[in-house]
Point group: C2
Chain length 418, copies 2
C-alpha cells in the first residue's frame, strides 16, 4: 500500500511567518480598537454540543456547521461556524446577573463547511453589544466598525447600511415559499427585471415596492429620501426613520474622518439572523464584504435571557487578502541579529535587552546571507564582521564594543543600515 | 420532547473577561520571549487529514486524537492534539528550501481526548528549533524555556532535565513487552520496590541499572555523578556526557538568574516521541508540569526532510491555574470610563485618544456602581458627577474641563483616584 500524500483538508491552511505576522497584527489592531471602546475580550471553545450551538444559528449557519460524534460522551458536537451564538449563550447563562449594556469582543477561527469552493477555517474578530438600546446601540457598533476598519490600511472603505423591515414586508407578502425564494434571489442579484417578473405573484400595490427594493441602494440621504417616498406600511416607515436616526447618531459618535456610508435596502445576506438595522463593509482590494453585522434581538432569548443585541464580525482573512492585493506589506519584524563565535551568548543577551531579536548561531552557515534571509534576520555578527542579509559585510568590531559598553542605540542604527 | 439543557462538552470551557485577559497576557508574554530569541511565529490549522497528522504523533498522541469524517470530501480528519507534528510537516514541505537552523514558535489550542477525567481543549505556546546541532540546540531551547517561565510570575520554577538513553537501554533489554510495561510503569511511579521486582526479568547486570534509574533524580551535579558511576554501556555513557555538556552550555546561554535545574533519568512521559535530551518544568502552585520538551530527531524525516530538532510546549492552562492558586491577579485592564449625557461622544473620543477605554452610555443605569463593576469600568462621568465603581461620587466638572482643554494627564490621575 502506498503512503497517502502529505496534504491538508481543502479550506484550511498554514500561515508562514510573513502571513502569520499579518494576521496577528490585524487581530491585535482591531482588538485594541474594540477595547478602547470598552469591549472586554472573552474566549469561547472551538466546538460545542451541536444542539446548543444550533439554537442560535440561522438556517445558513446550521447548514455550514461541521458535526461529529465526540468519542468521550457519544454526543454530537459541532465546530463553531459563528462566534455570536456562543457569546449569546455566555451572556444568557454565566453573565445572567450582570446588568446590561454588556460589551464583549473576541477573535478566533470559525470553521464553515461551504462545499468544494468555499473556505472553511476563517479568522474572525468581532464585538457584541448586548441589551443595547435602539437606535444608539446600532450607531455605536457602526462607529466601532468604522474605527476598526480605519486601522487596517485599506483604501476606499464603504459601509453599506440597511434594515430588514422593507424586504421582510415584501417577502412576507408573497403567497407561497416558491415565489418568496424567487423574489429574494432576484433581489440578491439586484436583477430588476427578475424582481419585476417574480413580483407578479405579489398582491397589487406590493409588487412595485418589491421592484423598488432592487434600486434602493446608493448614497445615504437621497436613497433614504427615495425609500420614504414610497407607500410603505407604518412599521416599515418607522424602520426607515429609525435608520435615519441611527445614521445621524453614527455621525455624532464616529471618529473623524468617518468612512463613506451608503444604503442598501435590498441586501438579504444574513437575513435569517438579523431583526433590524444591518450593515456590511467593503474596501478596495476586497472582492466581497470584509465585515458584516447588525441587530439580532431574538438570539439571546433562545438561551434564556430576552435582550436586544447588535454586533459585527470582521473577516480577517478577507482583510489580509485585500491588503496583499493592494500591496500593503506585512508588519516588518523587529530587527533581528545572529551572533556567532566567542562571547556570542553575552552579546545576544545585551542585544535582547535592547529589544532586538538575537540568535546565538552555533554553527557558521556556509552562506550567511541566504541563511539570514530564511531566518528573517537582518544581520549577523561573526567575529569582526557584520554581515547583512544582502551579503554585504563590514567591520562589526565597533558594534560589539558599543553593545558591551551599553551604547546600544548606536548599535541598532548600525544594524539597521549596514 | 423537552429541550436539552444548555451545556458544554466536557473538557471545553468559556473564558470570561478576567480569565481571558490572563490567557492573552500569558500568551503574549511568552510569544514576546520566543520572538526575542529569534523564533518566528507561524499559524497551523485546527484540524488536518488524520493520516498526515498521525505520521508525526507517537502512540499517546494517536490515542488522544479526536477524528471525524469531513463532510465535504469524506476524508477522515483529526483535531490536532499536538502542534509539533504540524510544524514538522510545514518545515519539511513548505520550508524545504530554507537552510537550517530554523526557529519557529506558535500559540493556540490543541484538543485531546483523555477520557472522562482529562481536559480536552488546552491552550499551548511553544517553539521548535529545527536542524539544531546537539548539544547547543538542546541548551538553547532550555534557555528559551527558562526565559519564558521567568516572565510568568510563578515561584519555585524548577526544570527537570533527562535523557532517554538510560531508560531506553534498560527497557530495550526486557525479554518481552509485558515485563517492559511493568518496569516502565514502576519507574513512572518512582516505585523502587516495584522496579526491583519487575527487573528480575532483566538479564543479570541490567536489573541493578533498572533499580538505580528509580533513584536517579535530584540536584544536577551529584545525580549525574551518581549516574556515570554505574556500569552503563558506551552509548549511554556518551548520552550522560552529552547531558553534562548541555547543562554547561545552558548555564552560558541562559538569562540570569537561571532557574533551578535538576535531573530525572527515570521520567518516561513523552517517551515514544523524544530521542535525546528531554525536560519538564514545574512551578509552585502547579500540580503537574507546566512545560514539556525535548529532542525529537526522527519526526521531520517522517515528512520527508531528515533533520534533527528540539522544542517544547508550555501548557498555558496549567500556568494560569498555578497563577490563580498562588494568588497572582490577572492583568488589570486599562482604566475605563463611561460618559453619559450632553457632549458624551466628544468627551469619549478625547478619552480614547489618551489611551483610556471610553464608553458612551446612552441610558443612565439605575445603579451606576453595579453597572460599572459588571462592565469592568472604573468610573462614569455623568453630568457634573464622577461616579466610581464603589458608588462614591464627586464633581467631574474639572475632569471634563481638563479633558476638553487637552490636559488629559490630570484627568487620568483624577479617574485613577476618585
Amino acid at each position: 500500500m502506498s503512503t497517502p500524500p502529505i496534504r491538508l483538508p481543502s479550506g484550511v491552511r498554514d500561515f508562514l511567518p510573513r502571513a502569520a505576522a499579518r494576521r496577528r497584527s490585524l487581530a491585535e489592531k482591531v482588538m485594541a480598537v474594540f477595547e478602547a471602546w470598552g469591549y472586554a475580550r472573552i474566549i469561547t471553545p472551538y466546538f460545542e454540543c451541536a444542539d446548543v450551538l444550533e439554537r442560535g444559528l440561522g438556517a445558513g449557519g446550521r447548514a455550514s456547521a461541521i458535526r461529529f460524534v465526540e468519542p468521550g460522551t457519544g454526543e454530537v458536537v459541532a465546530l463553531r461556524p459563528d462566534i455570536t451564538p456562543q457569546i449569546a449563550r455566555v451572556v444568557a447563562t454565566r453573565m445572567q446577573e450582570i446588568p446590561g449594556p454588556i460589551r464583549l469582543c473576541y477573535e478566533g477561527a470559525v470553521t464553515r463547511f461551504a462545499g468544494e469552493a468555499g473556505q472553511r477555517e476563517i479568522l474572525q474578530a468581532g464585538i457584541e453589544l448586548v441589551d443595547a438600546p435602539e437606535p444608539d446601540g446600532d450607531a455605536e457598533v457602526l462607529a466601532v466598525a468604522a474605527a476598526a476598519l480605519a486601522h487596517m490600511g485599506l483604501p476606499e472603505i464603504r459601509i453599506d447600511v440597511g434594515h430588514v423591515a422593507p424586504a421582510a414586508f415584501v417577502l412576507g407578502s408573497a403567497p407561497d415559499a416558491a415565489s418568496r425564494v424567487l423574489i429574494a434571489s432576484a433581489l440578491g442579484r439586484k436583477d430588476r427585471a427578475g424582481v419585476r417578473s417574480a413580483a407578479r405573484a405579489l398582491p397589487e400595490g406590493i409588487a412595485p415596492l418589491a421592484e423598488a427594493l432592487a434600486t434602493l441602494w446608493g448614497p445615504a440621504q437621497p436613497t433614504l429620501d427615495k425609500a420614504v417616498a414610497l407607500p410603505w406600511p407604518e412599521p416599515v416607515m418607522a424602520a426607515l426613520e429609525q435608520l435615519r436616526v441611527v445614521l445621524a447618531a453614527f455621525g455624532e459618535l464616529a471618529e473623524q474622518p468617518a468612512p463613506s456610508v451608503t444604503i442598501d435596502l435590498g441586501d438579504l445576506r444574513g437575513f435569517d439572523y438579523y431583526t433590524g438595522v444591518r450593515f456590511a463593509a467593503y474596501a478596495g482590494g476586497a472582492p466581497d464584504a470584509v465585515l458584516r453585522g447588525g441587530r439580532y434581538d431574538e438570539l439571546l432569548g433562545k438561551y434564556g435571557r430576552a435582550a436586544q443585541a447588535t454586533g459585527f464580525a470582521i473577516d480577517l482573512e478577507a482583510v489580509a487578502q485585500a491588503q496583499r492585493s493592494i500591496g500593503v506589506a506585512p508588519p516588518s519584524a523587529v530587527i533581528g541579529v545572529a551572533v556567532h563565535g566567542a562571547g556570542a551568548s553575552e552579546l545576544a543577551r545585551a542585544l535582547r535587552a535592547t529589544g532586538l531579536r538575537a540568535v546565538v548561531q552555533q554553527r557558521a552557515p556556509e552562506a550567511w546571507g541566504a541563511w539570514l534571509r530564511g531566518a528573517a534576520l537582518d544581520a549577523a555578527i561573526v567575529g569582526d564582521q557584520l554581515i547583512g542579509s544582502d551579503d554585504g559585510s563590514r567591520s562589526a568590531k565597533r558594534a560589539i564594543e558599543e553593545a558591551r559598553a551599553g551604547d546600544t542605540k548606536a548599535l541598532i542604527a548600525l544594524l539597521k543600515a549596514p
